[in-house]
């Protein structure tokens, strides 16, 4: 018999209680988080090997530049001859390191479902319509203040097969680079007030309440374009060490 939402919600509550009573602070999800069933066979059981080497290659990282993006890459509504369906939105914010320094000139990549909650991917079997005018992939480079900005449509919620009647809240996938490979981040941005938050084991895998809040964008009326689009702001803070010598260079 397939697992039901009450089964999964009970597990989510247990994981949350265990986190609170541990007294620890954990910003990232635990890789073994049973309510998200696909983690069970896909997380290491051995402790990670600690690397404390100022010469580690991973304290530097790849560079991207004007050859790697075109102006249209940041506007997901203009990548096809016709207009995509859905609510136009701007998503913007800054990419910072943990010291608050802007991450400049680095690559931000996003991907998302269309307004109906369907990905332009043949593995997506959700019987919602594909949109011939929307692919849902974008990229840009951060500016000198670490800012990124995308124009897109608000993605729809979609079902998945973690358990019976599992639905993902609307989200945009983000991929970010810092100055160091150790700062790499792939994550998901959510929309404020989504009623599906409590049911979703992927969002709830972040068991720290404040950390989970940091995955939710803020609606910002000033970011709307009149008679065109609504605006959301989402700042991103990259974790992980970088080489101190890079601070001067970038």
């Amino acid at each position: 018999m397939p697992l039901t939402q009450p089964d999964i919600s009970r597990e989510i509550a247990q994981e949350h209680e265990a986190y609170i009573s541990s007294g620890a602070v954990r910003h990232h999800p635990s890789r073994g988080y049973a309510p998200y069933r696909s983690t069970v066979l896909r997380h290491p059981r051995q402790p990670l090997a600690v690397v404390q080497d100022p010469e580690a290659v991973e304290l530097s990282g790849p560079a991207f530049g004007i050859t790697d993006v075109t102006a249209l890459d940041a506007d997901l509504t203009r990548q096809h001859p016709g207009e995509p369906l859905g609510e136009r939105i701007t998503v913007t914010g800054r990419v910072l390191d943990r010291s608050g320094r802007p991450v400049r000139g680095q690559l931000v990549e996003i991907w998302q479902a269309n307004a109906s909650g369907r990905y332009a991917h043949q593995g997506d079997q959700h019987p919602a319509p594909l949109d011939p005018h929307f692919t849902g992939a974008g990229r840009c480079l951060t500016d000198d203040q670490g800012r990124y900005s995308f124009t897109t449509v608000k993605p729809g919620a979609y079902p998945w097969r973690n358990h019976a009647n599992a639905w993902r809240p609307a989200h945009i996938h983000f991929s970010l680079f810092g100055t160091a490979f150790t700062q790499r981040l792939v994550t998901q941005m959510y929309f404020p007030g989504d009623p599906l938050f409590a049911y979703d084991p992927i969002l709830q895998s972040v068991t720290d309440d404040e950390a989970r809040e940091r995955l939710v964008a803020r609606y910002e009326h000033e970011l709307s374009c009149p008679e065109q689009s609504l605006g959301y702001r989402w700042d991103i803070v990259l974790d992980g060490p970088a080489a101190t010598w890079i601070e001067e260079g970038r």
């Binding site: 999800p29 066979l41 290491p44 530097s60 050859t67 790697d68 943990r98 991907w111 332009a120 991929s175």
Partner: protein
């Protein structure tokens, strides 16, 4: 440190039309005589292939430079499509998605000054990426501080096997008896 980090989330199953790019695994300039092939599989705790993982590679240039270079994913200014690498510049960065059997392969140049390629693993079902290193067998692995700090049984999982001249095999086991050593940078 003052700001709190944005938490990680899984790359999910549908990154395939956004992250992989043509020429992503071709880190070596086209036709370079020093090219090495590094290949392997990603498998889960049951030994089953992971067909929806994406691997990223980062390494110094053969001269030891770690600054990297733009141009890994050059875009066509006319069509907006992928133009591919320029065939000349060594950017130090590669990206390869696994196939339906969990297999991947990259072609690159030997890293300068260190005996390893750095790897970052993303997958559906992996809520936070994992780092590892592919050590190329040779004399310089003997003095490597990370390898020296590991039990011999665990150390083996980080060293690629030379299966043919200039061809190395490296499997990534996310869990289980021969689980790959994954890294935490402090």
């Amino acid at each position: 440190m003052t700001l709190l980090p944005t938490p990680s989330q899984t790359v999910g199953p549908f990154y395939g039309y956004a992250l992989p790019f043509p020429g992503g695994p071709e880190i070596a300039p086209a036709g370079h005589p020093g090219t090495l092939t590094v290949h392997g599989r990603v498998v889960d705790g049951a030994g089953e292939p992971v067909p929806d993982a994406v691997l990223e590679f980062w390494q110094p240039a053969p001269d030891g430079s770690r600054t990297g270079a733009p141009g890994s994913m050059r875009r066509d200014q006319v069509t907006g499509g992928h133009l591919g690498r320029d065939g000349v510049t060594f950017t130090g960065f590669g990206r390869a998605a696994t196939d339906a059997d969990g297999r991947w392969a990259v072609r690159t140049l030997p890293p300068g000054g260190v005996p390893y390629l750095s790897v970052c693993v993303f997958a559906r079902g992996l809520l936070h990426h994992l780092y590892t290193r592919i050590y190329l067998p040779g004399d310089s692995t003997g003095s490597d501080p990370l390898l020296a700090s590991l039990d011999p049984d665990r150390r083996r999982t980080l060293v690629a096997a030379e299966t043919a001249p200039r061809t190395y095999r490296f499997d990534i086991r996310l869990q289980g008896a021969e689980e790959t050593v994954f890294l935490d940078f402090r």
